[in-house]
Symmetry: C2
Subunit: 360 residues, 2 copies
């Protein structure tokens, strides 16, 4: 089964005949209409809501699209080792694709911020995991320094082929809908993904595959909103770890996507994020990681503020939402979110039926 490189090769100029394709059949993730969630959000009825569920990639996040590119190019150049600074989805993808290629991987992370659950993937895929007594910026600087002077390929998102791979998600959305959506809502952390989607939509439009480009609607968390606040955040803070970033690498790309598309980048609170996270799972049966809930919460806020009120009522419109990763990446968050939890009962028919009263 083919991954994004085989499927979109003509639109990925970094890929040449000399590039060995290292793939785990990433991409081809479903675009799922979400009518019950749309009512929860409160969009007008002519606006259809679709979820692009990137949690159905092989390592459980959208990072696989960029990593098939980065590791394929690394192998092409003869690299025997790839390296990244990460505590989350990037390390999982880097180590998985390196394993698939039969090369080594090294993950550098700040000591004290080691979430063992999130690192289970890097460990089982055989990455060498090093914890340093410094912060994430220190880790990234060290990775850049070492990769510049040693035969190790850098696969952090400062590697430009990562964004090239990620733009294919926009291609898939247009392919599925038959045209670009009117709006695209997306979480914004390091800002590589909003940059990538905007590039993908622009390229498909230029190639005549879509009649329009969507307004890009980016959402950051309140405690980690440098693009909204206009300045770097030194101690970013949010429960949505995947967007807990104070100094986005793709800052300019995100601003360009916002302004060129006629869109916006706003911020939502952790309370709004948690409510949206539970609403996606309870209304549509889709379990996405907390960061994915930022654009859902953001759309609800926009709807409440009248953002969609001028849409023509007689013309169908679409908004697509990127759900960046699978909820299984952070099971503890789900358990913390559901206050009701588990009820203990006797192993007796009547005792159980009393708990089910509300259903009869």
């Amino acid at each position: 089964m083919s991954g994004i490189i085989e499927r979109y090769r003509p639109l990925l100029p970094d890929v040449t005949d000399a590039t060995p394709v290292i793939t785990l059949a990433e991409g081809s993730t479903p675009l799922i209409e979400a009518p019950r969630l749309a009512r929860w959000i409160g969009v007008p009825p002519q606006l259809r809501v679709f979820l692009k569920f990137e949690g159905m990639n092989p390592t459980g996040s959208f990072k696989d699209r960029g990593m098939t590119m980065a590791v394929s190019k690394a192998v092409e150049t003869g690299a025997k080792v790839v390296m990244c600074a990460s505590t989350g989805n990037t390390s999982a993808a880097a180590s998985a694709y390196a394993a698939r290629a039969g090369i080594a991987s090294v993950v550098l992370l700040p000591r004290g911020e080691v979430a063992l659950g999130k690192l289970s993937q890097a460990l089982i895929h055989g990455a060498q995991v090093l914890a340093i007594d410094g912060n994430f910026d220190d880790a990234l600087n060290l990775v850049r320094d070492i990769c510049a002077t040693h035969p190790i390929a850098l696969v952090n998102s400062v590697n430009p082929v990562r964004i090239e791979g990620q733009k294919t998600a926009a291609f898939e959305i247009v392919d599925a809908l038959g045209d670009a959506p009117h709006f695209h809502a997306i979480p914004v952390g390091n800002a590589g993904n909003i940059t990538a989607y905007w590039r993908g939509y622009q390229e498909y439009h230029a190639a005549g595959r879509a009649t329009r480009t969507p307004k890009m609607l980016g959402f950051q968390a309140f405690g980690a909103a440098p693009l909204v606040d206009g300045s770097r955040v030194h101690e970013p803070c949010t429960i949505a770890t995947a967007i807990r970033i104070g100094n986005p690498a793709s800052w300019k790309g995100a601003i360009a996507a916002r302004d060129q598309s006629g869109g916006l980048i706003h911020k939502v609170t952790d309370e709004q994020i948690v409510a949206a996270y539970a609403a996606v799972a309870a209304n549509e049966g889709i379990f996405a990681e907390p960061a994915c809930a930022a654009p859902v919460a953001g759309l609800k806020m926009l709807a409440e503020n009248g953002y969609f009120k001028d849409l023509p009522t007689d013309e169908p419109a679409t908004v697509t939402v990127t759900l960046t990763g699978h909820g299984l990446k952070d099971p503890d968050r789900a358990i913390k979110t559901v206050a009701s939890g588990i009820v203990e009962v006797a192993a007796q028919r009547d005792a159980i039926l009393r708990q089910l009263d509300r259903f009869f």
Copy 2:
């Protein structure tokens, strides 16, 4: 994006025009060739190994194929509640598809065997989770009793449409390969899945879509091997929780699959399972739950015992392996398996380079 019901509707006679299709775009999982793992297993070079990675279903396991059927039929009959006994993948799928349908779900599980991580999905999808002071058999008996006398749809695998849905994985394999494989290796716990694959292969063969049916190679864990040992196991024991079952519901189906296909059902130790689990992740970049490693370990044992030695050396042959669920279902197991773990180093270029000595 369509799920298995739309894609295989003519081969699913339980589905009628009156059936509302409740789907999360399950199925269409990749079939990934595994050349490096094939060398680790030790199969002869003319035997190609392919992995059917069912962890890429929406809730992270093959259960979604059966659950789209069970919940669609439940909604067709007017059910407002579905119910199952489960501590793992079944409860995740049942609660997700119930949420998608806008109906309620109830999960019954034995108290004291509550793995919170595994239940995070049921909880976030809004299931009512009841823990009883009894074992799994008690839970299933209570579920059957209550569903028989109340308007609640039973979605355990004793519901026959579950196996109908699961047979579509065999269809997808034949569609991908252009014919049936020569061998199909699969973990055997409750034995519904080996029953379902065998049915799928037989039906596709009868329909002229394949020139052969594969030999079915089933593998149980040493401490939970009733089909190998020939009698029910009262206290099944293995680290592979998904196949920790002492009295398989589809006992007869598994024996029929084995005998009609000319295959076998053998058992492997937990040590063999853990070694295979790590080998899949380290050699191919695929993170599958421990139970999935039973057939990989089993193939290695068969290869060592000369099972494949009479295959003609000049004729290509294929073996497919079902990886039933995603490794993210059980991240703790990965962390326990990787002894090396995380190395702490100073945030200094030279200190880090000393850890990377082996790469230069």
